[in-house]
């Protein structure tokens, strides 16, 4: 059963990856990337890495690709499909880069990976790939990498906020229609017209409106 699943997932992953670059419509490219990521998750499942598979789906197919879909759907591009851009020099350069990548991957695979491909496959220890084991490894052997990458994410988040602020995206002033916890707990107005216009409690604003 496992070889069948492996070939379905592997063919799916490759087809998805080809679709990303071959399809002209941006949204279809994004969707085939999603398909590729889901196929990768299936491959992780075959390797008994359930946690990695779930994280792959939640983080990549879920959160990251959602942003891609958002951008493509909002910015549009539905009317004008992507055209191949750049002249001959760009194409030659891209061929060169692809060739370099292929050589690098071949070196990596032939150099190390093939030694693990035997009759039996790697030994499977109970508990392998479980969240408990991964957590233990992250907080012992790979603590430094774990902490450094969390700092990287923190920097990225702070940077995003700073960029949004500079462009005026994050408003410092009183936001119209902001709601607070207190307002949610005890609604002062009961949905009057004045309340909906001012965004605040209708009762207080009424005298100002009359004057």
């Amino acid at each position: 059963m496992a070889p069948v699943f492996f070939f379905i997932a592997a063919v799916g992953a490759i087809a998805g990856a080809i679709g990303v670059v071959a399809l002209r419509h941006p949204l279809y490219s994004v969707l085939s990337l999603v398909f590729h990521l889901l196929s990768l998750a299936a491959l992780f499942l075959l390797l008994r890495a359930e946690f990695v598979a779930a994280a792959q789906v939640v983080v990549y197919a879920g959160a990251v690709m959602v942003l891609y879909v958002f951008v493509v759907a909002y910015v549009g591009g539905a009317q004008e499909p992507m055209a191949p851009s750049g002249g001959l020099p760009v194409r030659i350069l891209s061929l060169f880069v692809v060739g370099a990548l292929l050589v690098e991957l071949l070196i990596a695979t032939l150099g190390s990976g093939l030694s693990a491909v035997g009759e039996e496959g790697a030994a499977y220890a109970p508990g392998f790939g479980s969240p408990a084991e991964i957590g233990q490894l992250l907080l012992t052997d790979f603590l430094l990498a774990f902490e450094v990458s969390s700092f990287l994410l923190l920097i990225a988040a702070v940077g995003a906020v700073m960029l949004a602020r500079r462009r005026g995206g994050v408003d410092d002033g009183e936001v119209e229609g902001r709601i607070s916890v207190a307002q949610l707990l005890s609604p002062e107005g009961l949905g009057s017209m004045a309340e909906s216009v001012s965004g605040r409690s209708g009762v207080k604003d009424e005298p100002e409106g009359r004057s």
């Binding site: 889901l38 779930a54 994280a55 879920g62 959602v66 958002f70 496959g121 508990g127 936001v175 229609g177």
Partner: protein, 343 residues
Amino acid sequence: MTTVYAEVGFYEPVWIQILKALVIFAVGLQIVPIVLLAERKLLGRFQNRYGPNRVGPFGAMQPLADIGKLLWKEEFRPRTSIQFLFVLAPIISIITATATLAAVPFGNVVDIFGEPVGLYGVDLNIGILYVFAFGAIAFYGIVLGGWASGSKYSFLGAMRGAAQLISYEVAGGLAVVGVVMMAGTLSLTEIVEAQAADGLWFVIPQFVGFLVFLTAGFAETNRAPFDLPEADAELVGGYNTEYGGGGFATYFMAEYLNIVVISAITATLFLGGWLLPFGIDPPTWVDPLVVIAKIGALSFFFIWIRATLPRLRYDQLMSFGWKILLPLATINTLVTAILVVVW
């Protein structure tokens, strides 16, 4: 090579797994029309009218009539829509909703025909993450449905739905972290067993997490007061505006199945799953009935809220999610982490 199977739970013969899948599928899908009928009847009562009472005794055949009507309708598709995705989108919705049902534990391991059988579809060591993974895929059902319809109402509904789902998924996920830390496991059956060992359902120590998770659950199922994606007053029907007949029925069923699943997951995480209060220990065949009763009670709560609260405005929805719910869930997680370490 000795085959080592998953260490959570145990390995069952194939025929038991197939049987279990069929039974869970059948039981889960039987709850859906009951919830549907209950919603229409209860909404009627809440609004001081009778609700459906013509088809069958007490209107009990109404869901059958609803589905029959939908299935005999013409399959219409707008000229601007994209056929492949238009057909695929509701299927994604229903598949993800059904797949999540597999993770719901209806009871612990029992003996059936001399074979030990776990009363759940699968008991994974990633447990609750499985549910979130399918929730992440369910997003595409809504977005593709709205986008492929080629209609502006559908598109707006889909975009709202997408923004809402990712916003509330964060808070919902963080709310679960508190439970996971207290139980020390992600497996849903072991979370219930941890509640049995403590003699205390997690709704009491994790009350804030319970509220946040339930609120996020309302948002994830696109139910009132968070039914912005299908706000009928402004968007006609949101992402499913252009769907009729079978496609609409599929979306409709996925929504109600999601209510059932969210109720079941809430019952498992916070309300003790198949446990009864006050240390009552019934025979094991009662366990699934207890879970179904809790699902019913929580589904009733969903309907109650829908009949009570008006729809939020869109900016209120977003600021509520990011500025109130998310900080609350974060503080809950931090406090739980400290308390778990100190005790």
